[in-house]
């Protein structure tokens, strides 16, 4: 007898002495893990349904619940791990592609953890950011080759500067569509970005009418499904991002299950209620770099050349030459999303096996654009699994202009990365459209927490820059001398363009 549900998962440990039978866990769990047996006055938990999101643990008023990894184990096997066995059993039952959520969780080398930063000692002073100015202001957009100043009378700028996004910190919220995440989650991102002076991104789901007022802090996305793309939408955003690919699922399109397409999402996306929103793998009008150029300029025409137009791609083997082509096609910024980039839903096999780490991609793209003398023509935004402020600092030192975060933003709102976003049952009220669940996410609190995260990381970035004796972010950008690799091979060091620890300047 083969069980349809694999036995591995989580165990709910309930301290019965602490439990007051309030049944909050019973009412709240969207996966129906907990049930109250009135006759015996006990709450029983069916661990097989548990996804490990820890929501019940968080809301239990007496802290009687602990969610643990289950103890049941197969015989140890390096190749035939529990994950492999369970995936096969699951597919033998369903005959389908295994879906998952969030970014790749496989232990490919995380180069951020193999790079260390520099600090000043003696010969140059470190700078205390609490006492001295420390500038993080960042501009996204095409930079001029040369600045001409007309000095015939009072000096005047004679060079026209292309449209720029102005950020108070080099961190933006990456694309997450309304549909993949809830109204309240989108609202919190929009408000936090506006209040802090950075940007959020609509993803491919259009822009809800209520959010138009956040337009000046919104990057609107144009993806292959063209959901919700109108002239008004394009002109409401501060910048436009053409989404060609995404780190979690390079080479394939998006999938929003019909269950998540509520009335409000249907209106925003301009599709019928309850229909699956499938965005095609390629843009059906982009089969070459020339076609991409046409779309870039069509969007620039539609917005009267007043907004930066960028292109987002997944980090793949050929990322450097592709990026060069995109810049030459007229993009004002380019977004590279690495293998650890998140998603609301993707085939597990794609998420875990396609694409390259953002660290290497960022380094090779920056180097390539410099070699071709076109680095100033487009800003470089990198994305895909940025977990902490030091990751951001290292990315900028490798050559990025700014970083997109999404998973970290969700975690700030409550997410515990249980990877079940695609089920639409997110207990935290983030990756769901069920009104019973979405109302749990208080947008005021979520906004505050997102702003706190931006503030905390910005303070830490200033501390790290101050330590290096740098007081403007532009002196960190591309400053690979501030980085050293730990335990990396020569090839890896060469790809990253950094020296090994122990080497002086």
């Amino acid at each position: 007898m083969v069980k349809s549900t694999p036995p591995f998962g989580f165990t709910i440990d309930r301290d019965d002495e602490k439990c007051i039978r309030c049944q909050a866990c019973v009412r709240m769990c969207s996966n129906d893990v907990h049930a109250y047996d009135a006759e015996k006055d006990v709450i029983v938990s069916d661990s097989t349904k548990c996804v490990g999101c820890h929501f019940c643990e968080a809301i239990c008023p007496t802290s009687s619940l602990t969610v643990e990894r289950t103890q049941s184990q197969y015989r140890e096997n390096f190749n035939w791990t529990a994950e492999v066995i369970n995936d096969i059993k699951s597919q033998a039952g369903s005959g389908g592609v295994i879906l998952t959520g969030m970014g790749c969780d496989k232990p490919y080398t995380n180069y951020w953890d193999r790079i260390v930063l520099n600090a000043s000692q003696v010969t140059n002073p470190s700078i205390d950011p609490l006492r001295e100015p420390m500038e993080l202001r960042t501009f996204i957009g095409r930079k001029p080759d040369r600045v001409e100043i007309d000095s015939s009378g009072e000096p005047k700028l004679a060079t026209e500067i292309s449209p720029q996004l102005e950020l108070e910190t080099p961190i933006m919220f990456s694309a997450m569509s309304y549909g993949s995440i809830s109204y309240n989650a989108s609202l919190a991102l929009a408000r936090a970005a506006s209040d802090f002076g950075t940007f959020w991104n609509t993803g491919e789901g259009g822009l809800h009418k209520d959010f138009y007022k956040y337009g000046p802090r919104t990057i609107v996305q144009v993806a292959s499904g063209r959901f919700g793309v109108t002239r008004e939408y394009l002109n409401t955003g501060a910048a436009i991002e053409i989404k060609v690919g995404q780190g979690a699922k390079p080479g394939i399109g998006g999938h929003l299950p019909g269950e998540k397409v509520t009335e409000s999402i249907s209106e925003t996306r301009m599709i019928p209620i309850g229909t699956d929103a499938l965005s095609p793998a390629p843009h059906h009008d982009i089969y070459s770099i020339e076609d991409l150029r046409q779309l870039i300029y069509a969007l620039k025409e539609a917005t009267r050349y007043k907004k930066p137009v960028g292109v987002k791609i997944a980090a793949v083997h050929n990322v450097a030459p592709i990026s060069s082509g995109i810049v030459r096609a007229g993009a004002d910024f380019i977004v590279i999303d690495g293998v650890r980039g998140g998603t609301g839903a993707a085939p597990k096999v794609i998420r875990d096996n396609v694409g390259i780490p953002i660290e290497i991609a960022a380094a090779v793209v920056d180097s390539r654009l410099r070699e071709e003398g076109i680095r100033n023509q487009a800003s470089l935004i990198v994305a895909g699994g940025f977990r902490r402020s030091s990751d951001v600092v290292k990315a900028i030192a490798l050559g990025a202009d700014a970083v997109y975060i999404a998973t970290s933003a969700l975690v700030a709102m409550g997410c515990t990365i249980c990877q079940k976003c695609y089920t639409g049952k997110c207990n935290w009220g983030i990756a769901t459209q069920d009104p019973y669940l979405t109302k749990r996410l208080n947008p005021e609190i979520a906004t505050r927490r997102l702003k706190n995260l931006l503030r905390a990381w910005s303070l830490e970035i200033k501390e790290m820059m101050g330590g290096m004796g740098i007081n403007a972010i532009e002196s960190l950008r591309g400053n690979r001398e501030q980085l050293r690799g730990v335990g990396l091979s020569e090839v890896e060091l060469e790809m990253l363009g950094i020296k090994h620890v122990g080497e002086a300047w």
Binding site: S120, V122, N124, P144, L157, T159, N471, A472, R477
Partner: protein, 357 residues
């Protein structure tokens, strides 16, 4: 690898009227600040010192051995007409030990190599890069017209005596006493660093080195020495010679004003400053520094944007002085008309009368 780090003293003096005076002033002023150096390097740049050969590129060369000399001379003969070649005169009785072979050449570019002025300058730059990068044991320390750099290992005052600077007359002089913290004494590594008529004396350590270096590589500058002076020299060459910016603009690029200062400026200036930071952010020199840059048209002193290294300036009639410490100025000018501390990032510009820039 060579690293340029540490304390150091700077001095610069010029007569804006163009009257020439001996190198003795700079020698005694820099010697006064000997506490700031440790005997591992000192040097001088003098402008207007070779009036007889003022249309020739004056190359000062350091050779470790005769083989390097032969290879270099072959390279020069191929590309230049050598108007004169001679050893640089030195004084034997000083504390200076083991000097390399010191030669100078007055050169004109062969017409077949380049015939326009900018073309010749680029050609000279490429020759300097070639000799310094490819000929083992040879190093060009100076390559401008009617100017020369004299430097070596030793206390700066002694270096001045060694090169008999009191016998030269120039309208502008800069000087440097060095306190490197983690480098071997090397004659070529002393300051000033020079390229064409640019000379740079520098006190500081720039934390933006990696960014600046990669920026300069875009324009064909090879930063071979891993020193801050080299980077600053190339930035001046790029921004002043190639882009034609004035020193006020260069000041706003190398030591850019903070955004909150920029926001308080009148609109037209605000736009200029913002555009400069957007376009030339990678040329921002970040970290503590005080620098005096010399060129045919005069001398320019500048500090980093938060003034982490000392620089004081003074005027007396047509004379302009800049120094790490006021003591250096008072040593050679007891009662200046005016002494002041330049603001962070604000260039002090000495202009030769009749010269532009």
């Amino acid at each position: 690898m060579e690293v340029d780090r540490g304390g150091c003293s700077l001095f610069g003096v010029m007569d804006e009227s163009g009257k020439r005076f001996s190198g003795a002033q700079a020698t005694s002023a820099i010697a006064k600040m000997q506490d700031r150096e440790n005997g591992l390097g000192g040097g001088f740049a003098g402008y207007g010192i070779y009036p007889r050969f003022k249309n020739c590129y004056a190359f000062h060369l350091l050779y470790d051995n005769e083989k390097a000399e032969e290879s270099t001379e072959r390279c020069l003969e191929e590309n230049y007409s050598i108007e004169k070649a001679e050893p640089i005169p030195t004084r034997k009785k000083t504390t200076i030990e083991n000097p390399p072979l010191l030669w100078r050449y007055f050169l004109t570019v062969k017409e077949t190599k380049a015939n326009s002025e900018p073309g010749q300058e680029d050609f000279v730059v490429s020759t300097v890069m070639k000799i310094n990068g490819e000929i083992d044991g040879a190093f060009v320390i100076s390559s401008g017209k009617n100017m020369g750099i004299f430097k070596g290992v030793g206390f700066a005052g002694e270096i001045g005596k060694f090169f008999r600077l009191e016998e030269y007359k120039g309208y502008a002089w800069t000087a440097h006493g060095r306190f490197p913290t983690n480098t071997v004494g090397w004659w070529g590594g002393a300051h000033p660093f020079g390229l064409l008529d640019w000379s740079v004396v520098h006190n500081g350590e720039i934390s933006s080195y990696g960014t600046n270096k990669r920026y300069l590589e875009n324009f064909g500058y090879r930063c071979a020495l891993f020193t801050d002076t080299e980077v600053i020299t190339y930035l001046f060459d790029l921004l002043a010679r190639k882009y034609g910016f004035g020193f006020d603009v260069i000041g706003r690029i190398l030591a850019a004003p903070f955004w909150d200062e920029i926001e308080r400026l009148p609109e037209s200036q605000r736009e200029i400053c913002k555009a400069l930071r957007l376009a030339y952010g990678s040329a921002l020199v970040n970290g503590p520094f005080a620098t005096i840059v010399g060129h045919t048209g005069g001398i320019v002193g500048i500090n980093d944007r938060i003034k982490l290294r000392p620089l004081v300036a003074a005027r007396k009639g047509s004379m302009l002085y800049m120094s790490s410490e006021e003591s250096g100025i008072r040593e050679v000018c007891q009662s200046p008309d005016k002494v002041w501390m330049p603001e962070a990032g604000e260039p002090v510009v000495g202009r030769l009368e009749g010269a532009h820039g």
